[in-house]
Symmetry: C2
Subunit: 434 residues, 2 copies
């Protein structure tokens, strides 16, 4: 008899069904028992009218069971269907007591994050903890599909590199046979090189590594970066418009495919009409004027400024997203294109979402001599970047791109208190397992 | 005036067009000049009737140029269209002599692989070198789409791990703050754990790392692994059937979307009806009988055996693919399910394609005690695998999965002599740049 999945039950009303999954919950009420079975599609409710016959008392929660019975309409049940159980069998049984309950709400469980992460795979059986990842997968999928639809080539570039992207800090060393190497901080150089290789438009979904010391709720040391880079742009606005297109597509996809997960997590999709833009210097003035934030001397946004600016954008432009543009050259990497109207600023931007930066992007320098000079201006030696610089000698088109932090975007989308909840196996200052 | 891409020229016959791209080739013939421009979609041919007026003699190859003219029918030209050039402008010029020609065939260029890889981004401007990656991207895309259509969740699992998958050899050490860590050899443990987390079906596209010393034409030390793992299987044949489904979908996608690339590379799509299976012990007998290969004592296939077995499958089953099954337990990792009919063998298999192994898979052990015993039998300490073993205590379903080497599959699909040609920035025993 073929397996029926929990989500497909409504199509089988009046028929015999066979479900296989984990025993999520079981409860006896007088001479009747109720059970809930869990499979990859969700929960299914069953009613057992003769529990003794079926041997209910021997069943252990989190066993893998086979349930056979008739699917019938029951308005109170999930999806309006209940199984009238005629037989039940344990296929696999736990060999130890479970570390914590998984069939209750996180609020009731009140577990410390470290406990959840120590038992990561088991904990994901909890509906709330588990619902994060189908959403994240949909974010990644909508990114790949959108990029593909815009004629971008998906690429995968090496994560073991001889030098860092931004010039050598916060790197994890790797012993590469006899050579000293590092884990890549970003695919920045490679994606630019592949624009120059003639692909013009490339995107990558891949892990990047930052050996940063801080332990905050919004940093992990290994994160999934959604990167793209595009050639033959007219301005950095081409990059911003491309991201707007992706965001629209992503929200559409989440709305269409992640209804259950948003409900389980009590999360809300953002409404997006157009995303406002504000220059960093104007933003700092606004924060001083409206929020009493002493922004003098600031060349970047701190977390408080990010929150305030999002509050401002929500109130004044009804947007939960806001682009901040024209960051000072001092706060941006050497490859960022200076603003031709005032080279103290750059054509670099961030995207903030619900109080947190989720994207960094810019137009890049494409002129070989300008790039070499900028490397020197940053106190570095162009010879160290020869592998990157070479393609700039043979004609690079005007180009730009950006990087989106997947876990952080997931965190903000779902209102998670800690970015670690949006990583299957997060790596931080102190955590290297599971 | 909007940019027209080379591939879109046939839609613009009789109209003024503006193309932007690299100057691939230019040649003067008496009072007429012919030029070829290259953009991300391919080549476009132009004819210049008054070269002096346009300043043809100053143009440098591999400059980025803007070409304006009228698109007209010309049967001899690519896609049957030629541009009657009325104006031309250099937008970006090379600042050095190019390291080698990119507008000739690889055969004529006769470059050493090391020279190609030393100038990787530039070399990809060559049509043959560059055509590899749209094919690879299509392989990856068809994998993701097929897996998604079969209800698999895309996951991304950490590549920095505290222990190796197969038990500690061939690992690249990473200094992770104060702790010693390693680069992941495979997502094996994590994908199994996520099956047990309740997702049942997961897939991953990600780099894996093998610090293996050998320098062959089919090994690189960082490669892109296409992994999947599926729970609630009835037999390891469910895994094989899933791979057959993917292969069919992949070939369909390559046929539909990579016609130009296959032509440029003079490659041929395999015809697949059904893929035959042969037990390893039977295969070794066949090789002895038909190929005079002394296979006595062999517990795995060596490269010669892989070639011979593919030859045999082609001749006897008209298939360029062949599954080899029931590898001995000695040649497979500890988590491989023993064959219940004879535990000296396993429910593990390989897929060979055109003479090379491109997939390794198996049913896995799902019983906790059996798994712990097998770890001990392999001379390892279960305590070292606690992070992996935990979920097996709380009911794991029967499951299996496999891993496909993307670069090697690309290599075999396109008939590339070296797997490094199927990696943008390959890492091997001696190569860490670019």
């Amino acid at each position: 008899m073929q397996r029926t999945l929990a989500a497909d039950l409504p199509e089988h009303i009046g028929k015999q069904v066979r479900l296989v999954g984990w025993l999520h919950h079981i409860r006896t009420l007088g001479k009747i028992a109720f059970l809930i079975l869990r499979d990859r599609t969700g929960l299914a409710q069953g009613i057992v009218l003769k529990p003794d016959k079926i041997g209910i008392s021997d069943l252990k929660r989190e066993s893998i069971v086979e349930v056979i019975g008739k699917a019938k309409v029951e308005k109170q049940a999930r999806r309006g269907v209940e199984i009238d159980v005629s037989s039940m069998k344990t296929l696999v049984e736990p060999v130890a007591d479970i570390p914590f309950e998984v069939n209750r709400s996180l609020e009731k469980l009140n577990l410390k994050l470290d406990v959840i992460l120590d038992h990561r795979a088991f904990g994901l059986r909890n509906q709330e903890l588990g619902a994060v990842f189908p959403v994240q997968a949909e974010i990644v999928r909508s990114f790949s599909e959108f990029m593909h639809s815009k004629d971008f080539l998906e690429v995968h570039t090496s994560k073991i590199v001889a030098a860092g992207t931004e010039g050598g800090t916060a790197l994890f060393p790797v012993q590469y046979f006899e050579q000293k190497a590092y884990l890549a901080q970003s695919p920045q150089f490679y994606k630019q090189m592949l624009v120059g290789a003639g692909y013009e438009r490339v995107f990558e979904v891949g892990f990047v590594y930052r050996a940063e010391d801080h332990a905050t709720s919004r940093h992990i040391n290994e994160y999934l970066s959604l990167d793209f880079e595009m050639g033959f742009i007219d301005s950095f606005h081409d990059v911003i418009e491309m991201e707007k297109g992706f965001i629209g597509r992503m929200i559409e996809a989440l709305g269409a495919n992640c209804h259950d997960e948003f409900e389980i997590l009590k999360a809300r999709l953002p409404e997006v009409k157009d995303i406002p833009e504000i220059r960093l210097d104007d933003a700092l003035k606004v924060l001083k004027r409206d929020y009493g934030h002493d922004t003098s001397g600031m060349i970047d946004l701190d977390p408080q400024a990010e929150r305030e600016l999002c509050d401002y954008a929500l109130k004044n432009a009804r947007s939960e997203f806001v682009f901040v543009t024209h960051f000072p050259a001092k706060s941006r990497p050497f490859y960022t294109m200076p603003d031709p109207e005032n080279p103290e600023f750059t054509l670099g931007f961030d995207l903030l979402f619900r109080g947190v930066e989720v994207t960094t992007g810019s137009q890049r320098i494409h002129d070989y001599n300008m790039l070499v000079n900028n490397i020197r201006k940053f106190g570095m030696d162009p010879a160290d970047f020869e592998f990157y610089l070479e393609i700039f000698r043979y004609s690079m088109p005007p180009h730009g791109g950006l990087a989106i932090g997947t876990e952080r975007l997931t965190q903000q989308m779902l209102g998670l208190s800690n970015v670690r909840q949006a990583s299957f196996f997060p790596r931080d200052r102190f955590r290297l397992t599971p």
